[in-house]
C-alpha cells in the first residue's frame, strides 16, 4: 500500500512520518514516532489504554485515522509529563497504590488530567465516569478512584 508523508503536531512539535492512508493515530504514534506510552489494549476503542488528547480533548488514538489528525494538536502521555496537572495525578496514583501492571495507567492519567483541567471538585461518581472507558483488569478501580478523589477534592463517597 502507498505511503505518504504525514505531518502531525505531536506534543508541541511538528513531526513527520511515512504513513499508509489506513493507519490510525495510534499506529503512527507507536510505530512511526516510537511514542510508546500510549498502549494498544484492544485496537477497537473499548479499553482506553490508547487515550491521548486531541485539541485538548481525550480521544482514542486507535479509533482515529492519522490523516484526520493533521492540523490538530495531539498530546500523548509523553507530552503531558511536563504539565503540573499530570504530575499531581501521577503522584496521587503512585502514592495510593493505584498502579499494578500499569498497562492501563497512561490512558487513565490522560483521562484524569482532563478531569482535573475541567476544574471544580470531582465526586467519586465524576471520577468513575471520567475513567468509565478505561478498563483496568488489575486494580478493581478502588485505589485509582480513591487517589483521584483525594486529589481532586470531591466528596468522599456519594453513596452510588
Amino acid at each position: 500500500m502507498k505511503r505518504t508523508l504525514l505531518e502531525l503536531n505531536v506534543n508541541g512539535e511538528l513531526q513527520q512520518a511515512p504513513t499508509r492512508p489506513t493507519a490510525t493515530l495510534l499506529d503512527v504514534l507507536r510505530d512511526g514516532l516510537h511514542l510508546t506510552g500510549s498502549k494498544r489494549g484492544c485496537d477497537q476503542g473499548v479499553c482506553g489504554a490508547c487515550t491521548v488528547l486531541v485539541d485538548g480533548r481525550p480521544a482514542r488514538a486507535c479509533l482515529m485515522l492519522a490523516v484526520d489528525c493533521q492540523g490538530r494538536r495531539v498530546t500523548t502521555i509523553e507530552g503531558l509529563n511536563e504539565s503540573g496537572e499530570a504530575a499531581a495525578v501521577q503522584q496521587a496514583l503512585a502514592e495510593n497504590g493505584a498502579i499494578q501492571c500499569g498497562y492501563c495507567t497512561p490512558g487513565i492519567v490522560v483521562a484524569l488530567v482532563d478531569l482535573a483541567r475541567a476544574g471544580g471538585g470531582a465526586s467519586e461518581n465524576d471520577v468513575r465516569r471520567s475513567i468509565s472507558g478505561n478498563i483496568c483488569r488489575c486494580s478493581g478501580y478502588v485505589k485509582i478512584v480513591e487517589a483521584a478523589v483525594s486529589l481532586l477534592g470531591g466528596k468522599a463517597s456519594d453513596g452510588r
Binding site: D31, G41, D43, C47, R128, S132, G133, Y141, G159
Partner: protein
C-alpha cells in the same frame, strides 16, 4: 552515622519501584521494544474447530513485497511440548483442533503487510466432527481429538486414561458411603461454571533475535523466564543454554502467560529470516488463540448432623480442558485439594477428570481450579445452613479448620487465620443487622458469605544478594512481577533483612542469562517462596559482613551487631561502627572477595500422608502452605429485570503478615472485581465451535461504573513461621470465594439457588419466576 530517616521496608505501604515509569508512560513493555532491522509478524488462526489440513499454498503471500517469511505446520519442527502431556506445537501440524489455533505465521517489514499477506494464503481442509462439550468428549465412540495421544511424551504417573481424557485423579479420606447414614441433612447439586477470558490488558507479545552462534534471545510477556526457556528448548530442539529469556514489564497475566504463548513461533520466524521479529497479538487473536479459565461441571453431595457438624462431602468435577492439555492435570489436582474447603469434614471423596474438547485450550487463571470447586462447596454449605436454619457464618465457624488441624491429604496446617477472617467480615459487615435489612420496593436484598482457602508455595526458587562497593545492594531473583507488585515486596524484604532503606536496593530484571532459577509467578508463591530465598540470601551476605567486621574489630563474629542504615558495630559499644561501604571495599580490594549471599530452596513443607488419604494419580507430593479468607457479599436483586447489584463486598484474608499493606489491598480489590466479572457477566461463548464474543466489545469486563464502590479489604495476620517476616501469599484468593458468595447472597435475597455462572439478569429472573 549519616542519620537516615526512618527506614522504609517491611510493613510499609510503599509505592511500586516502577511507579514513576508506569505513570509517565516510560515503562517499556515487550510491544514497546524495537530492534534494528526488526520485522513484524502476524498469525493466521484455524477457521474450523476440527479439521484435517489437506493442502496449503503460500506462494502468493510470499510474493507480496515486504513479506520475508511464511511458516505453516509443514515448515516447523514437530517438537511437542506441554505441562504434563507434550501435545502442542507452535503451529498446527496436519490437524487443527480449535477455531483460532495458529496455522500460519508471516514476518514482514511492517504489520499491515504481514496481515495483508495472511489473506493470500490458501488452505484446504477436510472438516471432521468436532467434539464441543464435556459429554461429547466422554461419549462412547467419540472422535479422538488427539489420535496419536498414546505416542505423546507424558510425565510419569498419568495412569490409564479414557479416550479424550487428559487426567483423572481422586482424593479419598474416611468412608463417605457409610457416612451418609449419620447425616440429618444431605444436600445434592450440580454446578456449572463457564470459561472466563483473562483479558490482561497487554496482549501476548514476543520479540526474538538469533545471533551467529544460533543462540536465541527472546523478550516476552511471561510469568517465568525459566518456563519460557525450557519450553523453547523443547520446541526448537535447542539446549537451554542457547535460549535466553528476558522479561520486560508485563501488562497483567493472571495465569494466562504462565506457559509459552507466542514465543516459539516468533523465534522460528527470527531463525528463518535471520532478523529480529516482533509478534504481538491483536486482542481478538489473543482471545481466540491463547487460553481461558476451565469451564467445569461439579456434582456435589454434602451431609451434616442436626447441630451443623459437617460429616461427609462427595465431589466430582470435570474440567473442560479445550484442545490441548497444558496445565489441566495440575488444575484438576489442585481443584481436588481445595474441594473440601477449609473445614474439618471426616469423610470425603473427591474425584475428577479433565477432558479434551475442540475449543480454546484452558490453562491456569487466578485460582487455578479452585474457583470452580469452591462455587460448589461453598453453596453446599450455605444450603445446609438454610436447611438447618443456622446462621451461615456460625455454621462455618463450627466446622472451621484451625492451626494444627489437617488439610485433606494429611498435611498439618501451620498457620490458620480462617476463624478470624470469618469473625472480621461478620463484624465489619454489621452482619446481624444487614441479614435483616429490608429491601427497597421492587427489590430483594440479601447478604451471605463464602469461605476461601488456597495455597502459597510450590517448587524451586533462588536469590542472589550482592553488596556493591559503595554498600548499596543488587537483588536478583529471576521472579517476574506481572503487575502484582512482587518486585517491590521482594526489595522490601531484602531491605528489612539488612536494615537498609529500600532506596538502597536495586532489583535485577528477569533474564535467564543472569538471574538465578525461579519456577515462576503462580500459585500465590512469590512473596512466600521467593521472599524466603531473599531473606536467607540477605542473611548469607550478612554473615560475610559479620566476618569481615569481626576481623577488623578483632572480636568474635557473634559480638558484631547489625545497625540501621547499612552499618555494623560491636554489641554494647556504640562508637565502634563500620559502614557496609567500608566492609564491601575491603572485600573487593583487600581480602575475601566480593560479598555475595545466595540461597536456593524447593518448597519443603510436609508431604501428603498416604496412610490418611488415598490419592490416586495426584500430581504433587507436597504443594504449599495454606492461606485462608472469608468474603461477604451484599446484593440487591431487581424483581423486574433480575439484575443483581452488588452493594458491598467485605473480603478478609489471612496473609500471614502484610509486607506492603497497600499492595495486599490492591490484590484483594483486584481479585474481587475479577471475581465479580466471573460471577455476574463474563463468559466466553461458542456456537458450533466458533467463538461468538472474542472482542472486548462483546466480552464484557467490569469497568469503573460497573464496579461497586464499597469493596472493603481486611488484612488478617497469622504469622506463618516459615514465611519471610511471617508472610504468606494473597495473589489469587481474592477471586476465589466471590462467585459463591454472590450466589449465596442471591439465594438469601430471593430464596432461589443459582447453580450456573454467570448470574446474568436473564438467568436470575428465570429462576425467580420458576420459583
Amino acid at each position: 552515622m549519616d542519620g537516615e530517616a526512618k527506614l522504609r521496608g517491611v510493613g510499609d505501604s510503599l509505592p511500586r519501584l516502577d511507579a514513576g515509569d508506569k505513570v509517565g508512560g516510560r515503562a517499556r513493555y515487550t510491544d514497546d521494544l524495537f530492534r534494528p532491522g526488526m520485522l513484524h509478524a502476524a498469525l493466521m488462526g484455524s477457521p474450523y474447530p476440527f479439521a484435517r489440513i489437506i493442502s496449503c499454498d503460500t506462494s502468493e503471500a510470499l510474493a507480496l513485497p515486504g513479506v520475508k517469511a511464511v511458516l505453516t505446520g509443514a515448515d516447523i519442527p514437530a517438537n511437542r511440548w506441554g505441562g504434563f502431556i507434550n501435545d502442542e506445537t507452535a503451529l498446527a501440524i496436519d490437524i487443527v483442533r480449535y477455531v483460532g489455533e495458529p496455522i500460519a505465521a508471516i514476518a514482514a517489514t511492517d504489520l499491515a503487510t504481514a496481515r495483508e499477506a495472511l489473506d493470500l494464503i490458501e488452505f484446504e481442509f477436510e472438516e471432521l466432527d468436532p467434539v464441543l462439550t464435556i459429554d461429547a468428549a466422554m461419549a462412547d465412540g467419540a472422535p479422538l481429538i488427539h489420535e496419536n495421544f498414546a505416542e505423546y511424551e507424558k510425565r510419569p504417573g498419568q495412569g490409564d486414561l479414557a479416550p479424550n481424557q487428559v487426567s483423572r485423579q481422586s482424593i479419598i479420606e474416611g468412608d463417605v458411603e457409610a457416612a451418609w447414614a449419620d447425616c440429618n441433612v444431605v444436600v445434592e447439586n450440580t454446578y456449572e461454571v463457564q470459561a472466563q477470558s483473562h483479558v490482561y490488558i497487554e496482549p501476548c507479545s514476543a520479540l526474538a533475535e538469533v545471533d551467529e552462534s544460533g543462540k536465541v534471545t527472546v523478550w516476552s510477556a511471561n510469568q517465568s523466564i525459566y518456563k519460557v526457556q525450557a519450553s523453547l528448548s523443547k520446541a526448537l530442539g535447542l539446549p537451554m543454554s542457547k535460549v535466553r529469556a528476558i522479561t520486560p514489564p508485563v501488562g497483567g497475566a493472571f495465569g494466562g502467560k504462565s506457559g509459552v504463548t507466542v514465543q516459539p513461533i516468533t523465534v522460528m520466524l527470527a531463525q528463518k529470516t535471520g532478523r529480529p521479529v516482533k509478534l504481538t497479538l491483536s486482542r481478538t487473536d489473543d482471545m481466540m488463540m491463547m487460553r481461558s479459565r476451565h469451564a467445569a461441571r461439579v456434582r456435589v453431595r454434602t451431609g451434616a448432623m442436626a447441630d451443623g457438624t459437617l460429616v461427609a462431602h462427595e465431589l466430582d468435577v470435570i474440567y473442560d480442558g479445550g484442545a490441548y492439555a497444558e496445565d489441566s492435570a495440575a488444575v484438576l489436582g489442585f481443584g481436588l485439594l481445595m474441594a473440601r474447603g477449609p473445614y474439618n469434614i471426616p469423610h470425603v471423596k473427591l474425584t475428577g477428570s479433565a477432558v479434551y474438547t475442540n475449543k480454546l485450550r484452558a490453562g491456569g487463571f487466578r485460582g487455578f481450579g479452585n474457583p470452580q470447586v469452591t462455587f460448589g462447596t461453598e453453596q453446599q454449605i450455605d444450603e445446609i445452613a438454610v436447611r438447618l436454619k443456622m446462621d451461615p457464618i456460625d455454621l462455618r465457624l463450627k466446622n472451621a479448620l484451625q492451626t494444627g488441624d489437617l488439610w485433606v491429604g494429611g498435611q498439618t496446617v501451620t498457620s490458620c487465620g480462617f476463624r478470624e477472617c470469618l469473625e472480621q467480615v461478620r463484624d465489619a459487615a454489621d452482619w446481624p443487622t444487614r441479614r435483616q435489612a429490608p429491601a427497597a420496593n421492587g427489590k430483594r436484598r440479601g447478604i451471605s458469605v463464602a469461605g476461601v482457602s488456597h495455597i502459597c508455595g510450590l517448587l524451586g526458587t533462588s536469590a542472589i544478594v550482592r553488596v556493591l562497593e559503595d554498600g548499596t545492594i543488587t537483588l536478583n531473583t529471576g521472579a517476574v512481577d506481572i503487575g502484582q507488585g512482587s518486585d517491590t515486596v521482594l526489595a522490601q524484604i531484602c531491605a528489612s533483612s539488612l536494615r537498609l532503606d529500600i532506596g538502597r536496593v536495586n532489583l535485577v530484571a528477569p533474564d535467564s542469562d543472569a538471574s538465578p532459577y525461579n519456577w515462576g509467578t503462580g500459585g500465590t508463591r512469590v512473596t512466600y517462596m521467593v521472599g524466603r530465598a531473599v531473606e536467607s540470601a540477605a542473611g548469607a551476605a550478612l554473615e560475610q559482613i559479620r566476618q569481615h567486621a569481626s576481623e577488623i574489630f578483632e572480636c568474635a563474629p557473634a559480638d558484631v551487631e547489625l545497625r540501621d542504615g547499612g552499618h555494623v558495630g560491636i554489641v554494647g559499644v556504640p562508637e565502634k561502627e563500620l559502614s557496609f561501604a567500608e566492609i564491601s571495599g575491603r572485600a573487593h580490594y583487600v581480602t575475601g572477595g566480593p560479598i555475595i549471599g545466595t540461597h536456593a530452596l524447593v518448597y519443603d513443607g510436609q508431604e501428603f500422608d498416604p496412610k490418611r488419604a488415598l490419592m490416586d494419580h495426584f500430581p504433587f507430593a507436597r504443594i504449599g502452605t495454606y492461606v485462608f479468607g472469608a468474603q461477604v457479599v451484599e446484593v440487591e436483586v431487581d424483581e423486574v429485570t433480575g439484575q443483581v447489584e452488588v452493594l458491598n463486598v467485605w473480603s478478609a484474608h489471612d496473609v500471614g503478615r502484610a509486607i506492603n499493606p497497600a499492595a495486599v489491598e490492591g490484590q484483594i480489590q483486584g481479585g474481587v472485581v475479577q471475581g465479580l466479572g466471573y460471577a455476574l457477566c463474563e463468559e466466553l461463548t461458542w456456537e458450533d465451535g466458533q467463538p461468538t464474543n472474542p472482542t472486548m466489545m462483546d466480552y464484557k469486563v467490569p469497568g469503573a461504573l460497573d464496579t461497586p464502590t464499597n469493596i472493603h479489604p481486611i488484612i488478617v495476620e497469622s504469622e506463618e513461621e516459615t514465611g519471610p517476616f511471617g508472610a504468606k501469599g494473597v495473589g489469587e484468593p481474592g477471586l476465589v470465594g466471590v462467585a459463591p458468595a454472590v450466589a449465596n447472597a442471591v439465594a438469601h435475597a430471593t430464596g432461589v439457588r443459582l447453580t450456573r455462572l454467570p448470574l446474568t439478569p436473564e438467568s436470575v429472573l428465570r429462576a425467580m419466576t420458576a420459583e
